[in-house]
């Protein structure tokens, strides 16, 4: 066997072995989360609030609801801002488009815990209380660049001829944008909405010192609120077996949620 052939064989074997190691580990993680999760999860998880440490049973009803509330408010804040600025840089003012894109890319790579600290300084410290709304704002700041970049890519796909046809019929600009541009890419916008929701649904770090945690059932967004992710952190680090089970249940719920939303958005993308 020549040196070149030998090198080639060695190289192929290495990449096969490494690939299988990684695939094995990733499948192993999914398997563990699903199996531990299925063993621990039951209806109480959605119907009951946490019990005191060491007491068997209980659920995370408050945290399921808390995660949904905080994430929804975040998207309600971030979505219009991201959508409108994507429209602005593509349809109104091309001069600032590169600045906005560059800053969004920077924001995409800023660690989420930094955003958490920022939201703490602006919305927790002055009011002297942790609050769900400060967590929502932190998550909104994280999701703005995600949605913006996705919608930005989509808008660029809209053919100029379609827009020009509408203009030539005398449509005002806002009508061309809402009725032609945005309706042309509406499925893509829906996909970006779903993907960004599922992305920030699993965030933990920015919530640790904004929405904090709460053992009670709470729907007042000016008070601290429980979330699934923060509860996983607290419960997994605790010494109680029953809390570990709740942590696995919450992980299971999040993984299923994330996988389902990814699959839904894939199907949506395929259809168009």
């Amino acid at each position: 066997m020549g040196k070149r052939i030998f090198l080639d064989k060695l190289f192929v074997i290495f990449s096969l072995v490494f690939s299988f190691i990684v695939i094995f580990v990733l499948v192993w993680i999914l398997k563990d989360v699903l199996i531990f999760g299925i063993k621990s999860i039951n209806l109480d998880f959605f119907l009951e609030d946490p019990r005191p440490p060491g007491v068997e049973g209980g659920g995370l009803r408050n945290a399921v609801l808390g995660s949904l509330i905080i994430t929804s408010i975040a998207i309600i804040i971030s979505f219009p801002i991201a959508l409108l600025s994507a429209v602005y840089i593509n349809e109104y003012n091309h001069k600032i488009s590169n600045i906005v894109r560059f800053l969004s890319d920077i924001m995409l790579s800023v660690p989420s815990i930094v955003i958490g600290a920022y939201a703490y300084a602006l919305f927790v410290k002055p009011f002297k209380t942790f609050s769900a709304i400060s967590g929502s704002i932190a998550l909104a700041i994280i999701s703005i660049p995600i949605i913006l970049r996705m919608v930005d890519e989509l808008i660029r796909l809209v053919p100029d001829a379609t827009k020009e046809a509408a203009y030539s019929l005398g449509s005002p600009k806002w009508k061309v944008i809402t009725k032609i541009v945005l309706s042309y890419i509406k499925v893509g916008i829906l996909t970006s909405l779903i993907l960004s929701f599922s992305r920030i649904f699993g965030e933990t770090a920015p919530l640790l010192f904004t929405s904090f945690n709460n053992n009670m059932f709470e729907i007042d967004i000016t008070k601290p609120m429980a979330t699934l992710t923060v509860n996983i952190f607290v419960y997994a680090m605790s010494p109680y077996e029953s809390w570990h089970r709740l942590a696995w249940s919450a992980s299971f719920f999040i993984v299923i949620f994330v996988l389902l939303t990814s699959i839904i958005s894939r199907i949506l993308q395929k259809q168009h």
Partner: protein, 303 residues
């Protein structure tokens, strides 16, 4: 006409918000860490003490912890991600290609806390009982590989981190590998090149900028990752003597101590750490943007 203007104004305001946020973060972090900056100055970066009782704070241990864990994680992840990218684009049968790509994209969407809890409950015992004793026995003659198998520590944290960032790097690498026109590959094969030579001399030179972008993405994820690390690094203010010892990263010290910071100086020192983390990610992104721009220009000229 009126509605047209209202719409435009809202769009303008949104863009202004998007532009202002990063600057607002920079200014806020600076203002909040001002107390610690004036107290400790630049010496904060080189001080290993972290003593909330005596109110003396230095950031060297978490800074080093962040650098060590990201470096180990990134080197492991780059090798693995490369192997996967090569496997999926060049070696595996075409019908599996899209299935594997879809799986890796799904895995990139799994939140980091899931990797954290798995690391704590599953990986830590395995590291402690099997992997670390094995490494100590076989590589123990090298100083950094010699120590006590604790399970919780730098190596475990780095491994969890690398597992977490592999899908990011490999997805990006796969995307750019698939952009290489097949004519290029086929021409090289027709000249008698082996698979190794095709990848080394055709695929990689053609995709340098994309590969770099993938690696940078992984690096920025690793630097600021909180949940996957906090569970398994041990959170101890100590420079590790070997790869098994517990230490702390900037992100994990924030996760643990932010809500417990009782005095203004304590909180301000934590904000100083946030400021450093923000600054590091900003610099890395700026430099990589420049490098990618240069590489793309070079690629356009040479292909």
């Amino acid at each position: 006409m009126k509605l047209d203007n209202i719409f435009k104004i809202f769009a303008l305001i949104s863009s202004i918000i998007v532009i202002l946020i990063p600057f607002s973060i920079l200014i806020t972090l600076y203002v909040e860490s001002n107390l610690a900056i004036s107290e400790f100055g630049i010496g904060f970066l080189f001080n290993t003490t972290w003593d909330p009782v005596k109110e003396e704070f230095g950031g060297l241990v978490p800074i080093l912890g962040t650098i060590f864990s990201s470096t180990i994680a990134l080197s492991l992840a780059v090798i693995m991600a490369f192997a996967i990218a090569i496997f999926i684009t060049e070696l595996c049968p075409p019908f599996l290609k899209n299935i594997f790509r879809a799986i890796f994209e799904l895995l990139a969407a799994i939140p980091s806390i899931i990797y954290g809890i798995w690391g704590l409950f599953v990986l830590v015992p395995i590291m402690k009982n099997y992997v670390e004793p094995f490494l100590i026995k076989n590589l123990g003659f090298i100083e950094i590989f010699n120590g006590q198998p604790l399970g919780i520590g730098l190596l475990t944290a780095s491994i969890v981190l690398s597992i977490m960032i592999i899908p990011y790097i490999s997805s990006m690498t796969i995307d750019v590998f698939l952009l290489v026109p097949n004519v290029f590959r086929e021409s090289a094969y027709a000249l008698g090149a082996t698979r190794f030579e095709v990848i080394k001399n055709v695929v990689i030179p053609y995709t340098k900028s994309g590969i770099l972008a993938g690696i940078i993405l992984g690096l920025t994820r690793a630097l600021g990752e909180t949940m996957a690390v906090t569970f398994v690094i041990g959170n101890l203010y100590k420079i590790p003597k070997n790869i098994y010892e517990p230490t702390i990263t900037i992100a994990s010290s924030l996760a643990n101590e932010f809500t417990e910071a009782t005095t203004d100086l304590y909180l301000s020192s934590l904000f100083y750490l946030v400021f450093i983390l923000f600054f590091i990610s900003f610099i890395i992104i700026a430099i990589s943007r420049f490098l990618i721009y240069k590489l793309q220009k070079w690629e356009r000229e040479s292909f």
